[in-house]
């Protein structure tokens, strides 16, 4: 195992050596995100102090209020944790995903998205400019198969590279993997749970994290099993004009699928040339 540790470290060093600018940018982004999160927490704590003092002075009534609010927050966090656990299960679920530039105009595109846990996915464009386009993830490998016969298929192990490729088409993995979306709710969002039964809701409002993440996330889920039946992401208006304003996931069904169904070999036709990504 020592050799494996060394191999992984040398591999990471070689990546940084090959792409120093990208490595620096990624590192700075990570540091900035961490420091911003610290400053935001410090800021929130400073803003809360006078409220806490006022509550303390209000004695018994305030204690009751605080208990009620704490319980609500705990319920919402527990609900988000359960949704995350269920989203990460290796259970295949199919969603229709609608990406809109705003709520009024026609959608940019509709996709059928199949997920099974958080490391495999396959999506297929249903109409408009994405009709017939197949995108997928098979563990560490990402692929894209254009609809045009004979067009080469993109196959890459670089998540960053695939993310950049998607970015040029107004898409992002961050906005497509249900488990990743729910995971971000636990870090950067204020959560509010309501309702129950098959229409239980969790509404999340972003308080920190990158502005490219949704401003609000509205989750409708089945209380009995924690499966998300609708997920609506709304983005801020300060993003570039081409960026989506809204992404909606609607559960179409839950069909058992084995891992091979998502694999590169099954989804990239044998007659397509496979190309990687260049710097």
């Amino acid at each position: 195992m020592t050799e494996e540790a060394e191999d992984r470290l040398v591999s990471a060093l070689l990546h940084d050596l090959a792409h120093p600018g990208r490595a620096r940018e990624r590192r700075d982004r990570r540091v900035d995100a961490g420091l911003r999160a610290i400053d935001e927490r410090l800021g929130r704590r400073a803003r809360r102090r006078p409220v806490a003092a006022a509550l303390a002075a209000a004695a018994a009534a305030a204690v009751v209020l605080a208990l009620v609010f704490d319980a609500t927050a705990t319920d919402a966090t527990a609900a988000a944790e359960r949704l995350l656990e269920v989203a990460r299960e290796d259970a295949a679920r199919r969603y229709e995903v609608t990406i809109q530039r705003n709520a009024v105009r026609a959608p940019i595109g509709r996709f059928r998205l199949d997920l099974s846990g958080d490391d495999v996915m396959r999506m297929e464009g249903l109409d408009g400019r994405f009709e017939g386009l197949v995108l997928g993830r098979d563990g560490d490998v990402f692929y894209a198969v254009p609809p045009r016969q004979g067009a080469p298929a993109l196959v890459t192990e670089s998540r960053d590279g695939f993310e950049r490729w998607l970015g040029g088409r107004e898409m992002s993995l961050e906005r497509l993997v249900v488990a990743d979306i729910v995971s971000s709710l636990l870090d950067d969002y204020d959560l509010e749970a309501s309702g129950g039964g098959d229409g239980a809701r969790l509404v999340a409002t972003r308080t920190s994290g990158p502005r490219t993440r949704p401003r609000t996330v509205d989750v409708t889920y089945r209380e009995r099993d924690g499966v998300i039946v609708r997920l609506s992401l709304k983005f801020g208006r300060d993003l570039p004009p081409r960026a989506p304003r809204q992404v909606r996931f609607d559960l179409l069904g839950e069909e058992p699928r084995d891992r091979d169904w998502f694999s590169v070999d099954v989804n990239v036709p044998a007659d397509r040339q496979r190309v990687g990504l260049r710097r």
Binding site: E4, S11, D16
Partner: protein, 180 residues
């Protein structure tokens, strides 16, 4: 904690960020997990800054925090594979990062030059394999095609090339009086 302490913390974090980044990328499978654990490690380190002994090195301290967060995350993730290494290998990884930090240079970026020299010293085929893998980001099959090898054999060439780079780093450290 005051503004001075916040600035000092930021300076320390920036100085040790690349080693923390390398550590987490070697340890975690998913870049999303690296983002999350990196951020959480900074938050926890800031919260526990009073526990940090300035007589000791900051890098191993914050990587220790990151390691615990990563282990906790792996535990919480259940069946989802999060970590790439077991406990003994994580110890070995930390030891190797300390070695790389011991290479001469002001910052980790300077130390990458030593890695570059180790790559230059490799036989041509290994150098080509590494260039295809890391510069061009090709998979093993595509590298095999360029080198006239099968995918699995190309993967072996890559592994051997990385092992030789690791060995070269160790030798450079020994020559320069570092620990190995």
């Amino acid at each position: 904690m005051g503004g001075h302490q916040r600035r000092l913390f930021e300076a320390l974090v920036r100085e040790h960020a690349q080693a923390l980044d390398l550590f987490l990328r070697a340890l975690l499978r998913d870049p999303g997990d690296v983002d999350d654990v990196f951020q959480e490690a900074l938050i926890v380190a800031w919260r526990r800054l009073a526990d940090y002994d300035p007589e000791r090195r900051f890098g191993p301290w914050i990587r220790g925090i990151a390691r615990r967060i990563a282990l906790h995350r792996a535990h919480a993730a259940g069946a989802r594979p999060v970590l790439t290494l077991d406990a003994a290998a994580i110890d070995a990884l930390e030891a190797r990062i300390v070695h790389v930090e011991s290479l001469p240079g002001e910052a980790m970026e300077d130390r990458l030059e030593h890695v570059g020299r180790c790559v230059e010293a490799l036989p041509e085929r290994m150098r080509d394999a590494l260039r295809y893998r890391y510069d061009d980001e090709l998979g093993a099959n595509a590298i095999g095609e360029r080198l006239g090898l099968t995918g699995p054999n190309a993967r072996k060439v890559l592994e051997r090339a990385r092992a030789r780079v690791a060995d070269c780093i160790r030798r450079r450290l020994a020559v320069m009086g570092g620990t190995t």
